[in-house]
């Protein structure tokens, strides 16, 4: 690249020097050849090879013909300039492409290189890609976790920013799972690999981004087909522009005049200069690629440029509730006690739930937060519907939902409160009610609001939960339309019905996180999976993966796509219009080569700069 810059500078300098002196007409061609060859020798060399291969529609070849032609008709200065600008355009293209590659290469850095494999408890350094499932590795502070696995020894904090964009470290301890690519911060961890290197998070993410470019958007294919015909047509036109007028003039005047050859030759050469469809061929994939790069920077993985196209047309969004709009983590939101100490009530409930692995039980134990003396739990018995009966601190405790209370003859009022309600009965007297609920994600409300704002016509929440819970979330988030108590099959049926009535132009998007959403994610035009935690199967099916679990990224993904598509359209319209205008004006009126140079290189540079705007957007 440096070489090209130097060559361009030297030849511009030489050109200026030549212009300063008055040069005799006879040696002018020779003198102008010096800057011409300085900058264009490589191009000429390439095109000679093309002639050997009978490949006449190559841009090097066309540029050579155009410039040599210009020399012949004594437009030497233009010839040199065409070459200089051609090289500048090429250079610009290279710089733009190199720079956008860098965005992906920073991502490639998350791939861990080496690992401390434990063999007979001694660490040996191996290449990370040699690791197998079941291998045990040691990860020191500030090292990247080389492979997906579970912690078998040690405690530490882990920086997940590379996967989720979240810079707050997360604490991990024995039996927690960790993802490759994340950085261990404080302690030493021993990890057992649960996945192969290729299947581990970091590698999968990089592969997704890298392969995104293969699935081509329709518009890219159109552009490619267009350029296949553009070059031959323009070249044909150029030769016709040269031949036909000369024949007609010769026929009409019966008088051969060298001047006519010059005039029409010049026009033909101008047309050759605009024959390369580079501006189109570069700017469309570049903008698409930048759309993918920009979104992956913001923790959104879009699996192909075709998906950018579909995302930009989304007008109906169906959202799963648990895990998508809510955290999918249960929390105690309310404790009501009847003639009983509130903390004591919680203590009894926590003791009762101690042996249960149900998420509801865990939320109660978490809320209690103190040490549990297991020796005080006796006669523990789990009932159906996750009810529990046990003797705790020598008192008989029964906890469970409404059904269990009725079965055990406990008189309860008809509570209308939303959330999951757990009744606590001590010595056969109802002592209190604990309400547990799934917390709504921080950004969910803003997400719904902004999705409406960017023109999504229909937003609907689909949930398997019961009505009260669905109503609570929908009301809080201002979602007007929702359906509840759905089985995964019913969810699919709703999508199917939507597909039947949906018009072709609008696309249907489904956002979900759990295994039970897999079918819907696949069925929708665009399936979005939430969270790196989303099971592997889903991330394979989904078109878009939102790594950091943040619903606002649904909006961001759509916005990036819309902007990318807009920019692509601008580029196409702009470059084709300019080229056609120059093309027509060259045939109909007179023209000059400067205009042709502008419509080639100028347009190229403008559309590349325009594409770069994808990267500098705010939501």
């Amino acid at each position: 690249m440096k070489k090209t810059i130097i060559k361009i500078c030297i030849s511009i300098l030489l050109l200026i020097i030549i212009e300063l002196f008055k040069i005799d007409e006879n040696v002018k061609t020779l003198i102008y050849l010096i800057p011409y060859l300085t900058v264009g020798f490589g191009v000429l060399k390439k095109s000679i090879k093309k002639i050997k291969r009978k490949d006449f529609f190559d841009e090097n070849f066309l540029m050579s013909i155009a410039t040599i032609g210009a020399f012949i008709i004594k437009e030497r200065r233009e010839a040199v300039f065409v070459m200089i600008f051609y090289q500048i355009g090429e250079l610009f293209q290279k710089i733009a492409v190199e720079n956008s590659k860098k965005d992906i290469k920073t991502l490639a850095k998350i791939i861990p290189n080496s690992a401390n494999l434990l063999k007979d408890n001694k660490p040996i350094i191996v290449n990370a890609d040699k690791l197998k499932i079941g291998d045990e590795v040691l990860v020191k502070p500030f090292e990247r976790i080389p492979i997906d696995g579970i912690v078998i020894d040690g405690e530490s904090e882990i920086n997940l920013s590379i996967l989720t964009g979240e810079s707050m470290p997360v604490g991990v301890k024995v039996n927690d799972s960790v993802a490759s690519g994340t950085i261990n911060q404080t302690g030493i961890l021993k990890i057992r690999a649960t996945k192969s290197f290729d299947e581990s998070s970091a590698n999968k993410i990089l592969e997704l981004v890298e392969t995104a470019g293969y699935k081509k958007a329709k518009v890219e294919n159109i552009v490619t087909s267009f350029s296949r015909v553009w070059t031959p047509i323009v070249c044909m036109a150029a030769s016709l522009v040269f031949i036909i007028p000369n024949i007609i003039i010769l026929f009409l005047t019966k008088n051969f005049e060298i001047n006519n050859i010059y005039v029409w030759g010049y026009r033909a050469l101008c047309i050759l200069v605009i024959s390369c469809p580079c501006a189109l061929l570069v700017s469309v994939p570049l903008a698409m690629f930048l759309g993918i790069a920009k979104s992956s920077k913001d923790s959104i993985l879009i699996k192909g440029t075709n998906i950018i196209e579909t995302l930009a047309k989304v007008n109906k969004i169906f959202l799963d509730k648990t895990g998508t709009l809510t955290k999918g983590v249960f929390d105690v939101v309310d404790i009501k006690s009847f003639n009983f100490d509130r903390d004591e009530l919680l203590k009894f409930a926590a003791y009762a739930e101690y042996y249960s692995s149900h998420p509801i039980a865990k939320s109660i134990i978490k809320k209690y937060g103190k040490e549990i003396d297991v020796s005080k739990i006796e006669n523990y018995k789990e009932l159906e519907n996750s009810g529990i009966i046990a003797k705790i601190l020598d008192r008989e405790v029964l906890v469970g939902n409404r059904t269990i209370m009725i079965k055990n003859g406990i008189n309860i009022e008809n509570e209308t409160k939303v959330g999951i309600i757990i009744y606590v009965v001590i010595d056969k007297i109802l002592c209190g009610i604990i309400t547990i609920s799934d917390e709504i994600k921080e950004k969910s409300k803003e997400t719904i609001k902004s999705l409406k704002k960017i023109g999504v016509a229909q937003i609907k929440m689909l949930t398997g939960d019961r009505r009260e819970e669905a109503e609570r979330v929908a009301k809080e988030l201002q979602i007007e339309s929702f359906e509840y108590s759905l089985s995964p099959k019913e969810k699919i049926e709703i999508l199917d019905r939507e597909f039947e009535k949906n018009d072709v132009s609008g696309k249907i998007c489904f956002v979900g996180d759990g295994i039970n959403d897999a079918a819907c994610i696949k069925r929708a035009d665009v399936g979005i999976a939430m969270g790196i935690k989303a099971s592997d199967m889903i991330s394979d099916i989904a078109d878009v993966i939102i790594l950091d679990d943040n619903p606002i990224k649904i909006r961001d993904a759509i916005k990036i796509s819309k902007r990318t598509i807009n920019i692509v359209k601008q580029n196409i319209v702009f470059s084709i219009t300019i080229k056609l205008m120059v093309f027509l004006s060259t045939i109909i009126f007179s023209t000059n080569m400067w205009l042709a140079i502008f419509s080639d290189v100028g347009v190229l540079i403008i559309v590349i700069l325009n594409s770069l705007r994808v990267m500098i957007m705010n939501y």
């Binding site: 390439k46 090879k49 291969r53 490949d55 190559d58 841009e59 090429e90 293209q93 290279k94 492409v97 956008s100 590659k101 992906i104 890298e210 392969t211 470019g213 293969y214 081509k216 490619t224 350029s227 296949r228 390369c276 469809p277 580079c278 061929l281 570069v282 994939p285 570049l286 690629f289």
Partner: protein, 72 residues
């Protein structure tokens, strides 16, 4: 079978031409080029020796322009 290779091409138009050329090689079912990443994804016919096919492809690409290359 599908495999990815690094390609060296210096312009978008050339990438298109290289891809068109590679598609013609016998033993190759389809191929997609990603000019910006400098990668080509090749789908082979069943039962072909992909090393042999790719060295053929490389030769072809080199013939087009000796600055082009496929890293096998």
């Amino acid at each position: 079978m599908e495999k990815k290779y690094d390609v060296v091409v210096d312009c978008a138009n050339c990438a298109r031409l290289v891809n068109d050329e590679i598609k013609k090689i016998s033993g190759i079912k389809d191929s997609e080029i990603n000019f910006i990443m400098g990668k080509i994804n090749v789908k082979f016919e069943d039962g072909v020796d992909e090393k042999k096919v790719m060295s053929e492809a490389r030769k072809k690409v080199k013939e087009m322009d000796d600055e082009f290359d496929i890293l096998i």
